[in-house]
Amino acid sequence: MKNFDYVRPASVADAVKAAATPGAAYLASGTNLLDLMKGNIARPDRLIDITRLPGLDRVERLPDGALRIGALVRNADLAHDPDVAKAYPAVAEALLSGASAQLRNAATVGGNLLQRTRCGYFYDPASACNKRAPGTGCDASGGENRLHAVLGWSESCIATHPSDFCVPLVALDAVVEIEGHNGRREIALEALHRLPGDTPAQDTTLDPGDLIVAVRLPGDARQFAAHARYLKVRERTSYAFAIVSASAHLRIEQGAIIEARLALGGVAAKPWRARAAEATLAGATPGPAAFRRAAEAALADAKPSGDNAYKIELARRILVRALSLAAAGTPARMPALPASPFSAVAGASHA
């Protein structure tokens, strides 16, 4: 690991000031950044430890019903927050399906949003990777790319964003609050992550020195609480990134869908909001036909980026299943295996 300067500012303003130096990086829990630094993938000159910044570790309900989540709230604390579990259950389920209990105890909200891709070629300094070293090419194209993107990818990069948490967030119109050199601003979470285009090194639309201070979930997103599920296919039952995941949220009145919110994970460089699919569900009767139609719409633009054509049909089926689970109703208690497709299978053994 390359050596670095370490500073621990006392306020958000001091942190943003300290980050003005080129080569500076914010350090929260470090569950992703330290891993990247150990592999020489990230080589910051200066770490600005933000873990002691006051006021960023709170979950609060705002007067307009929105939930404001401080950037330093730990994943486990957020998942078990009573208001989150009750009002935004798919957010809790997504959080609990991610990483391990140890990592969830450490990893922060802001860090989750800004985690880098898990593409093996990005993680290997000996491989060509336009995201890690712009202009070097992409060894994932033509390489082991079974798990790579099927939506929004480009010739220069086929990596996916690994977050579970971001998938329900983007479906529920979450907003990101940012402190930067020119003060406070906010953007939709949907506008935070970028598609690769010709500049895959830039994961997000943040400017250098920008600090995420909070994520807000709108109050009206609480209306989906009774029919909200996150579903995630992994290569093992627990402690693995998504091959494909889906977050499905429905408002059902008198047997008809009033409004649907849908997003996919593991399919693109950003959490993928499926608006066209949502539109097909408005006014529809919940059921296999309507759900399949929505899934077709969600994946209409999908293209394999390598040996991953299977992910397109897998994503359709996961979306159908997530919608079916959401329509059946949010379970009263978090499933023993959060987001697992095996959770509801009677007699399935996971020992």
Partner: protein, 165 residues
């Protein structure tokens, strides 16, 4: 640059000088404080062998800088037994053969203590397995580990009841 941090490790408060900011909590414990019970498996947050309690919560000590924990309370496997009297989780791992080679065991035990304190899994084996998925056991002692955690959960709950009765 040199740094100084205060840590309480297994109940003992100490001031530690660090000449390098790169030292992880794991390396601090093993290489500087010579508490080698906490194991370095993958050193990348994937195996759980380095699990310790920081302010009562289980975390991977390999993926966190020692400097970030100025003022924290750390408990490692060395801090569990009271003389010859084992912690109930340690005793349960022995009773249920929750190990073979033993390399992952300190991490498993610290993780199990964290899991029981979190109170989410209760006595449901499926929830225990899910909650322990961050601790890999290459010998495959998972069945014994699950039984040990289940047993320790019940023992500790019963002993808490006796204390509050």
């Amino acid at each position: 640059m040199s740094f100084s941090i205060g840590l309480t490790v297994n109940g003992v408060r100490q001031t530690i000088a660090l000449d390098d900011p790169r030292v992880t909590l794991l390396d601090l414990l093993r290489e500087r404080l010579h508490l080698t019970g906490t194991k370095k498996g993958c050193d990348r947050g994937q195996c759980g062998a380095c699990t310790v309690l920081v302010d009562g919560r289980r975390v991977n000590s390999c993926l966190t800088l020692a400097l970030s924990h100025d003022g924290a309370d750390i408990v490692t496997i060395e801090g569990l037994a009271r003389g010859d009297q084992l912690h109930p989780v340690q005793a349960a791992f022995i009773a249920h053969d929750g190990l073979q080679c033993g390399f992952c065991t300190p991490g498993q035990i610290m993780s199990a203590i964290g899991l029981i304190a979190e109170g989410q899994a209760g006595d449901d084996p499926e929830r225990i397995r899910e909650g322990m998925s961050g601790n890999l056991c290459r010998c495959g002692a998972y069945t014994g580990i699950t039984d040990a955690v289940l047993d320790a959960t019940q023992t500790m709950a019963a002993s808490n009841e006796r204390r509050s009765a």
